[in-house]
């Protein structure tokens, strides 16, 4: 049993021969048992990364290991919900759940799937084509959860849901993580949506990994500082973003030692951290998750 859910080294994906690079030189490690927020602007490569991990796309460069094996071999242990929540429109909810049971013999959990569907007051005889976006999401999640996966990959799972359903389904996902130790990766371009539920962050921007690690570690590694624009320089520290307003300078830095005198420090929020990195693509990459070799040696 591997303690690593996803590990990427030099991972790249290009579409078409001369097509654009969706992902480039991505390296990160996601330990098992984490709930990971995959954050980035639209078109950053989030969906591509999830599809690669689900074994639905082949990488053009680099290596990707999922649950200690190749994505294709891990597929039976991985649940995946695509962004547009594809389902067969001609089937009823009951039929699509039976599909899950038929196609995942031996590890299908009908109660888990039905629990998710029941939360939405959906009639089992309703055809998929007559469902709303949020109801489709619910059925797609039911299919993915019924499979009792070790790793759950969710592409924009909350986008179509009303606040009530969002809270309820997020609760269901968290319960899954709490009970079975399921590793969950969910993408969103709204950080606030995931902040309370996730303990791990993967920030993707421009096809590259910008930040990767435990959210607490990432927050602890950064400080928001304010001081006079003419005070001591911050050169000794990695500056992610700095802004001068009048005589005051505000910056988000990764301190490399004690701060020079005259600076007031405060802890940044996750949203501030993410936005600062997205606004400044040249900011240095930070990966705080320990490499697999270190962990296995420990």
């Amino acid at each position: 049993m591997s303690d690593t859910a996803i590990e990427a080294t030099g991972l790249g994906k290009r579409f078409g021969r001369r097509g654009g690079r969706a992902l480039h030189d991505c390296a990160f490690r996601l330990p098992t048992g984490r709930v990971c927020a995959l954050v980035g602007p639209n078109g950053a490569g989030k969906s591509t990364l999830l599809a690669l991990a689900a074994g639905l796309l082949a990488p053009t460069d680099g290596r990707l290991r999922v649950l200690g094996t190749s994505p294709a071999a891990a597929r039976p242990r991985v649940g995946y919900v695509a962004q547009d929540k594809p389902l067969y429109p001609q089937l009823t909810i009951a039929e699509i759940l039976r599909m899950g049971a038929d196609l995942n013999p031996g590890h299908w959990d009908p109660a888990a799937a039905e629990h998710v569907v029941a939360g939405g007051d959906l009639e089992p005889g309703t055809r998929i084509r007559s469902l709303s976006g949020g109801q489709r999401t619910r059925v797609a999640l039911a299919l993915a959860l019924g499979k009792r996966p070790e790793l759950l990959l969710l592409d924009e799972p909350m986008a179509d849901l009303d606040p009530l359903a969002r809270h309820e389904l997020m609760g269901t996902l968290m319960a899954q993580a709490a009970q079975y130790g399921t590793t969950i990766v969910m993408s969103s371009h709204v950080v606030a949506e995931l902040e309370d539920s996730c303990d791990h962050l993967l920030l993707v921007g421009g096809g590259r990994i910008r930040l990767a690690g435990e959210i607490d570690d990432l927050l602890a590694a950064h400080v928001r500082v304010t001081g006079a624009a003419d005070s001591d320089r911050l050169d000794a520290h990695a500056v992610v973003e700095s802004r001068v307003t009048g005589r005051q300078l505000t910056a988000l830095i990764r301190p490399a030692g004690p701060l020079p005198a005259g600076w007031r420090a405060s802890a940044p929020t996750l949203e501030e951290l993410v936005l600062a990195h997205l606004r400044n693509p040249e900011a240095p990459v930070l990966t705080t998750a320990p490499a697999a070799t270190e962990e296995s040696a420990a």
Partner: protein
């Protein structure tokens, strides 16, 4: 049984909110020694927060000796937070002080700010 309510905009870390609310329940006698705290699954299902946050809060409570985890059974309350009986004269003095503050023209917010500042100086290191 205690039910946690997470306030996202309070600025207080989520795990701290769970610790605080547990202690509050202990003080108010809603939780007594031997009671089982809700499981992490139950808490996260209702609040949609990360399971590790709940576990972190429970570890904090365990470190303080308030609860203990029994493998496979759950987390149980070990001791209650016996509230020290308040000396009635303390309250009388505070009431008198508050009346003086109002006569001096202080508004409710001014009083609150002043009170918090004093609390911060005298109860440093303790979280409410």
């Amino acid at each position: 049984m205690v039910e946690y309510r997470i306030d996202r905009h309070s600025g207080v870390a989520t795990y701290v909110q769970i610790v605080q609310q547990t202690k509050q329940a202990l003080r108010m006698g809603l939780l007594e020694p031997g009671d089982r705290l809700p499981t992490a699954r139950e808490v996260v299902e209702a609040t949609a927060i990360n399971p590790n946050t709940v576990l972190k809060a429970y570890r904090e409570l365990e470190r303080e000796g308030l609860v203990e985890a029994r493998r496979g059974l759950g987390t149980f309350v070990r001791r209650s937070l016996g509230t020290t009986p308040v000396d009635p004269s303390l309250r009388t003095e505070l009431v008198a002080w508050a009346e003086r503050a109002r006569r001096a023209g202080l508004e409710r917010d001014d009083v609150a700010a002043l009170f918090t500042a004093v609390l911060d100086t005298h109860f440093q290191g303790e979280r409410s």
